[in-house]
């Protein structure tokens, strides 16, 4: 099965990290990504630019409307994702728990819908 692992964290806190800590976090992400590429779980994965760069789009009555910022204001914001191939939910949870961001923020594990 495929699972999307959505990485949520407090953006304000992350932006205040000391540069050395931030470098360390990036290195941890790099190690993690390499490990799940090697184990064959990795399908895709990226970090996202901060929510200050986000634009939300809606189409109503055929008219496109855009607003500045993310769809919902929440305590934690989406900051990146991995798309992984895993045997079952237990395996996906194990992969999610090893994401460096799981120790500060939270990872939402969503099974990917397969269209037949």
């Amino acid at each position: 099965m495929q699972y999307l692992l959505l990485i949520y964290r407090n953006e304000a806190q992350q932006s205040q990290m000391a540069p050395a800590d931030y470098q360390k976090l990036l290195a941890e992400y790099s190690t993690y990504t390499q490990s799940i590429v090697q184990s064959g779980h990795f399908k895709a994965g990226d970090g996202l630019q901060p929510t200050s760069t986000a634009t939300t789009v809606r189409v109503r009555d055929g008219k496109t409307m855009t607003t500045d910022g993310p769809f919902a204001e929440t305590r934690e914001q989406l900051g990146g994702y991995y798309l992984v191939e895993a045997r079952d939910l237990d395996a996906a949870i194990e992969l999610a728990a090893r994401i460096p961001g799981a120790r500060h923020g939270s990872i939402e594990v969503r099974p990917v819908m397969i269209y037949q």
Binding site: M1, L89, V109, M113
Partner: protein, 411 residues
């Protein structure tokens, strides 16, 4: 010929286990449940007019499997693409000749799946009661004080999650087993505590839930022998439940431990519980919280009277619990035990320290324990206020009557 009530009992005893095996064979919760219902319908018809089979569970699994194949065939006729699945099903299904160990594993698979940590705690309890214990949706709904439709919806969504999120139908492997077993035991204990002291309503106890939890505990102890935590939990439940007949009057009023007629306690069940505590203590490894709690219950069960209870040892065991499994609720229980060793004044200091930290805000037993200590210290006005707070904090009628009685006694 077999009476309808006996057939009912067979269904009740075998439903969980037959379902557990059917889910493995057909690979789908809903299909397995529907097939088992079909099998029950056939059984009701055949068994009431003839002889029941020697092995009802194997019979139910076998008929259920055939009914599942029928159902898939009917669907396949509409969709025309399930031939492969059907073939696999027929191949996988070995039916009644499977070794017993395999069938035991099925039951564990079902228990661990229903208690998967990706479900909210009350969903785990509801799924377990419905599928492992074989209660009807209506009975589960009553346990949660919700309507049958709402509960049916909740169960449908949970089973959907099993399928769509890929929750595995398996017993977790070595590393993951210990924390997952803790989760299973927590579910069983939740079922038990709801049976032992209901959270609301007119009745103090719901013995059917306590019995259900004990049944689950026995099952788990048989399926996974020599696990201290399981033996400890089973002992704890047996020892608490053994006092049931002494815990309330015929009118449904609470009888406190200090007032209970100990000859009403179920001695056979106490013996069983005591033996399990001994067994659990013999299993090597770290002390398990359930075992320590069971050891405390054992000291109560062995005591000839409230006054002659080994309170210093009970207080000491609570201190062990606080070290291995600290929680404000255990602190409160510890304080109550200390009141019997060092007196209510010392205990009140401990209770006030807990409430100052705010760890028990909203916990309804906190004002009740305070009230009892203040009453024993004869600080009447403060005791009255604490009983009023305790009355406001509970939704259980017998507890409200107990506090009213204490208030009257202080006049």
């Amino acid at each position: 010929m077999i009476a309808a009530t006996d057939i009912d009992k067979v269904f009740r005893d075998e439903a969980g286990r037959a379902l557990a095996t059917l889910i493995r064979l057909v690979g789908d919760f809903d299909l397995a449940e529907d097939a088992l219902q079909d099998a029950f319908a056939v059984a009701l018809e055949r068994w009431s007019s003839g002889e029941p089979p020697d092995n009802p569970r194997a019979w139910l699994v076998n008929v259920g499997r055939n009914k599942a194949i029928d159902r898939i065939r009917r669907q396949a006729a509409f969709r025309g693409k399930q031939q492969a699945l059907l073939h696999e099903l027929a191949l996988n299904a070995q039916g009644p000749d499977e070794p017993l160990a395999m069938l035991d594993d099925d039951m564990l698979r079902l228990i661990f799946t229903c208690c998967h940590p990706s479900f909210a705690a009350e969903v785990q309890v509801a799924l377990t009661l419905r599928t492992v214990c074989g209660l009807s949706t209506a009975q589960v709904a009553r346990a949660f004080l919700v309507g049958e439709d709402a509960m049916a919806q909740r169960l449908v969504r949970a089973k959907q999650k099993i399928r769509l999120a890929g929750i595995p139908y398996q017993v977790p492997e070595s590393d993951a087993l210990a924390p997952r077993l803790d989760g299973v035991l927590a579910v069983i204990y939740l079922v038990f505590t709801e049976g032992y002291v209901a959270t609301s309503g007119t009745d103090l106890m719901r013995p059917d839930f306590a019995a259900e939890a004990i049944r689950l505990g026995r099952l788990l102890d048989r399926l996974m022998p020599d696990r201290a935590a399981i033996k400890g939990l089973l002992a704890l439940m047996l020892l608490h439940d053994a006092r049931r007949a002494g815990r309330e009057t015929a009118a449904g009023d609470i009888v406190l431990l200090e007032e209970q007629d100990r000859s009403l306690w179920d001695r056979a069940q106490i013996e069983e519980g005591l033996a399990l505590v001994d067994d659990a203590l013999r299993v090597p490894g770290r002390p398990q919280p359930y075992v320590v709690q069971a050891a405390i219950a054992a000291l109560h069960a062995r005591a000839p009277s409230y006054a002659q209870t080994d309170w210093p040892q009970i207080a000491g065991l609570y201190e062990v619990l606080l070290r291995i499994n600290p929680s404000p609720v255990i602190e409160l229980n510890h304080a109550a035990a200390i009141s019997m060793v060092d007196g209510p004044a010392r205990a009140l200091d401990l209770v006030d320290a807990i409430s100052a930290r705010g760890g028990l805000d909203g916990y309804e037993m906190l004002p009740a324990v305070r009230a009892d200590l203040l009453r024993r210290l004869e600080r009447k006005q403060e005791a009255r206020e604490a009983y009023a707070a305790a009355t406001g904090a509970t939704q259980l009628e017998p507890l409200r009557r107990l506090y009213a009685r204490r208030l009257r006694e202080m006049e």
